[in-house]
Assembly symmetry: C2
Homo-oligomer: 151 residues x 2
DNA sequence: CTTATTTCAGTGTTACTGACATCA
DNA sequence: CTGATGTCAGTATCACTGAAATAA
């Protein structure tokens, strides 16, 4: 039994930013998914609620742009949120192609609950970093993401 | 038409480390996947080759542990790599349950090619950061991943 | 005519689960 | 018996593609 290096990926991967971020993202996604599941919610639901809370009533296409969920997936997510009474979907009288999606009071309450839940997740995720390092990490990641969006 | 904030996710997401990393990972994964595809390779192939190069001949279970690819997926990946002549699979005479996987000379050459290709990807990914910032980011991500692995 | 929106059906990748046979 | 290994079949999630209907 050579059982060496159980937790040591190859050196070239350990210093490769894309690999580090993918690995962390996998773990973070799992953690986020588990926590949201305890509140009977999935990632997409949170994103849509957050976009509606911040940008106000929007068409589904706007929701898609505002939260990064693919527009063909917004359909099903909104349908589910409507079923839970967290958002309203009503036809836009000014443009009959569109639906206007609005977050309900219940939806806002749910969003606050999820905010708290996800704040805990961030704390766990970044537990090994000092507050200053966390800010620095978020700052650097923000720059990387911004650059990525422009490419 | 409210078409505001086309590229501006909700504030709470913009400063949430888990969201930032997920978003970047999605883009990085796509870029890595595209580049590897130009060399007729997928992520898993690279990971397995890198693990074999660094840790030497290994059983499939060891490969799985060393590169983070699920052991039930290693089977197919190794089969494909064998088909391309990049690795050898031979039964371990000392333990007849096991196969010993060894990277071939051709496999090492392919790995060098992929290393160069992925180095380019990292440069593009982190183009907006200075060398010092890149090191800092990798350092912080390494700490986060290490903590995640211990949880 | 072209473009935007909504909707649906389906795809490809990744990570994973469960089951099973083999063997130490 | 137990535990590790290799194998296979199948699942869940996500981002996405393509196409169609409707309407600006």
């Amino acid at each position: 039994m050579d059982r060496m290096a159980d937790e040591s990926p190859p050196t070239r991967l350990r210093t490769m930013a894309s690999w580090l971020m993918t690995q962390i993202a996998v773990g973070a996604d799992r953690l986020v998914g588990e926590r949201l599941a305890t509140a009977d919610t999935r990632r997409h639901h949170y994103r849509v609620l957050a976009a509606l809370d911040e940008f106000g009533p929007s068409s589904q296409a706007e929701v898609a742009r505002n939260c990064g969920v693919h527009s063909s997936d917004v359909v099903a997510v909104v349908t589910e949120l409507v079923g839970k009474g967290l958002v309203d979907r009503s036809p836009d009288p000014a443009d009959r192609r569109r639906n206007t999606i609005t977050i309900t009071a219940v939806g806002v309450g749910k969003l606050r609950e999820l905010d708290a839940l996800l704040a805990d997740v961030q704390d766990e995720l970044l537990a090994s970093l000092s507050p200053g390092e966390r800010d620095e990490l978020v700052r650097l990641l923000g720059r990387v993401l911004e650059h990525q969006r422009r490419s």
